[in-house]
Symmetry: C2
Subunit: 367 residues, 2 copies
Amino acid sequence: MYICKFTTFVAAFALASTINAQAQVKEDFVPSSMNQPGQEYPMVNSEGYARFRVMAPEAKSVSVTLGLGGQGGTKLEKQADGSWTGTTAGPMDEGFHYYHLIVDGAPFNDPGTLNYYGSCRWESGIEIPAHDRDFYALKNVPHGNVQQVLFHSPSTGTERRAFVYTPAEYGKTNKRYPVLYLQHGWGEDETAWSNQGHANLIMDNMIANGEIEPFIIVMTYGMTNDIKFGGINKFDAKEFEKVLVDELVPYIDANFNTIADRDHRAMAGLSMGGMETKLITMRRPEVFGYYGLLSGGMYSPEDLKGSNVHKVFISCGSKENPDGVTAAVKKLKEAGYDATSYVSPGTAHEFLTWRRSLHEMAPLLFK
Amino acid sequence: MYICKFTTFVAAFALASTINAQAQVKEDFVPSSMNQPGQEYPMVNSEGYARFRVMAPEAKSVSVTLGLGGQGGTKLEKQADGSWTGTTAGPMDEGFHYYHLIVDGAPFNDPGTLNYYGSCRWESGIEIPAHDRDFYALKNVPHGNVQQVLFHSPSTGTERRAFVYTPAEYGKTNKRYPVLYLQHGWGEDETAWSNQGHANLIMDNMIANGEIEPFIIVMTYGMTNDIKFGGINKFDAKEFEKVLVDELVPYIDANFNTIADRDHRAMAGLSMGGMETKLITMRRPEVFGYYGLLSGGMYSPEDLKGSNVHKVFISCGSKENPDGVTAAVKKLKEAGYDATSYVSPGTAHEFLTWRRSLHEMAPLLFK
């Protein structure tokens, strides 16, 4: 089952509208960690409120597509100095959110933030500090690298891009590593798991803490089908399967110190990337031995027949379909599969769900 | 001598205002290669004109900070469908240009383009196809990787980022490589040489053509001093020297297959990065054996006394200070130094000058 962003958006509206807009807001705002260097706004406080400020002296209206129920986001108010400011009517969910500005009816990015590829465009992003953010914090530990690779794809006639996380110890000896192929969601691209997901920092910290054995992660672009929300039901990921399995996997095995067999190769993805994972692992069980669906559907026991899968991981946010996830995993276990479910507390179809899911899934892989 | 962007901006104004705005424009516009995926605008034609289109139905005025003399850029005209469109009054210089929109008096990025870090912010970018663009084109040749590394910096108390270009053959044997440390300009960052400069593609193509022996390039953030245009004269790059020479160089030598001596280590930079190169190579000649200043000042024979430098490369665009560059190199040669000058035809203080400079400089290094 594919949960599109629009559904989540509506759910967020419903939630926000139950919050009293007159509540006292704690005045401990600090710049969002996703801001451009030196930019003060947007800010976030310890309760999860977001505050915006944009200079637009001659604009007639400025709003933000985030934070307020039923009115299209947060309306900003014009100040005497020509800036527009406003605070969300209630606390936001912890973690990362995409948004943009509406300036006189037209969409623009907030000049204060870095941009993140989502909804098929580079969007503004804001980070509401999560209580458990330590696991993806940038620390003074040995850091792995995120390598941009360009590989030739005969099936599409293009040079394509992937990012490869190699652990800190990689390359210092001839040691070979298992590989997780990790896919982004609809409208995102191969930058999402590093930029929004901090996958490299999650791995660095877990490896430094001795929580996992090092492995490689490969992230590439999965929107090879021209899909829109309306066309999602026809989505079969066959073109992408060719790129991933027949072109990228051999490239990675030829160019990195991998253990090149299904027992040391996993595939996982978030949202649409989960759909792709399900479709591709079902058609090519000889390639991958570990499967992960992160807010991206479920396997039934029938789906896995003959797959010889070593481990199935299925997760979502508590504001998505947690009962569906736990029920699916219960059924898989009853049918004899090694399956684990995870529900991210207090999150919806957004990146904190997936950061936490990677953190929960990583120790289960390649056992 | 440091040529700031403002000077170049004024020069571009003077040029553009001499062009007849009524000229017939060739209608062979195609999307700029720097656009976001699937975005049609901005467009460029074969003569170097740029055409913009932005949806902003309720805006009172929209302009672009590019292309028209004396009026603050190109004013866009409102169309019946709520979009604003306009074409530069004349052809732009070939290559990459930063810009942004002014919507009702406020700066926003063009939703059509990718963003590039310049002027200490992520800006819109456009590419006017250059007649010689083949040397930085993405081709089906063996590609090197661009690796993001995070290194600990005791002197600044931070985890810092660098990008490392490793040639396609890197890591397949135990072969060790020379290293070029390559710096960005004022207001840019460690992403500039890959994103705007295509340094990796320039290297891939030259290596594939047998024009150079493979080497590594390291690009890191050089704005450790809190400098603004007004403070540029006090700029001494001493903090940055510590990060670069005492922290990053040892990190690279410990983590990559480098030849770790001055005879196999070069430093070069564009604009402010050239200033840094000059200051740092003069103070630490035992670290670097090859120096490159790209639109970033010159060495006098006195500057190089006792340096034992193997090669000096000095370049700029023909619209900058070409006579100064050639005269400086002439003096260096007369004093017995191995020096080469290069003047990029028809370009100013912009990235096509520096792409070409890297292309000219690379074959001269590590001989």
